[in-house]
Symmetry: C2
Amino acid sequence: MNQPVRAPQQDRSRITRERLLASTLDILAVHGWAAATVARVAEEAGVSRGAAQHHFPTREALITAALEQMFTELIAMADTREALPDGPERIDIVVGRAVEIYTGREFKAALQVWAAAASDEVLREQITPLEAKFARAAYRMTRNGLDPDGSQPLSHRLAQATLDLARGLGLADTLTDDSVRRAQVVATWSEQLRAALR
Amino acid sequence: MNQPVRAPQQDRSRITRERLLASTLDILAVHGWAAATVARVAEEAGVSRGAAQHHFPTREALITAALEQMFTELIAMADTREALPDGPERIDIVVGRAVEIYTGREFKAALQVWAAAASDEVLREQITPLEAKFARAAYRMTRNGLDPDGSQPLSHRLAQATLDLARGLGLADTLTDDSVRRAQVVATWSEQLRAALR
């Protein structure tokens, strides 16, 4: 008779944990690194301070779990298996996806983490492997999208350049809404890629 | 008899101020936003706490002056009047200059400021006009460099894309030394620009 009682409890615990992590990313993205404390996150998530501390006894534990969550979400965005059309609009879709990854909430949260890690060696060592794993997923998605049959020698560097561009566009979007200008830059970039990969 | 005495004193005062601002940018770039306090900056600059507070009574005053200094340096980098060759190597030089702006100490300091401004409306309002002025200078340099006689309709968007790419490369360089990969991405993009602007 224990099973039916324990299962919902585990579910509640999992949901609470997920809510805390989602709130941590929201707070990082909107209020910055220093604001992401257990107390503030608990409040944002509508979870009692005690319950939050049960899951994450220290700020470090919370931040570590949130970083893993952030990179898991970024990798999931990059790992999409959605089919691409064969025509030239394929390039626009691939570039659009790359840019989407770098202009979302996860990137804004990641930017706070990167800025903090610039002066925090422990944090830097913690995120470097996660960041590398994400970078590989984003590269794979972009290169396979630009050059599905691997026939274009330029596609390796062009995929990298596309991700660098997307990162730069993401950074330009952090202070002001840059979406109108960005759409034009993305269109120009896709046009260049189409010419280079013809 | 006052003049010879007063002049060196003004010089000393100006030099102290400049040292404090240079140290603020160093600390921002290397140790991050929170570390840039009057006390820490005074120590780094080898200036007494009292002298530092004479110039900058509050952290806000120090940060405001340092931001102006940072953007002045960024604009000076973008406003270079150095002559460009006429041949195709012109494009490499222009792209190289754009990338240099975004991979220097000033950009690393600016990144800390941007990250802090994402959650600080007062700071955001303070830096937005400075950032816009810098963006215009960087755009002018890049567009004039890519298209000196203004004959290329694509040069407007290509100059923007080049700066977005440069910004993304700068961000990629904050956690690890990315110079080897960057050189290859820059070469690939310069090749694309040469083809597009032929």
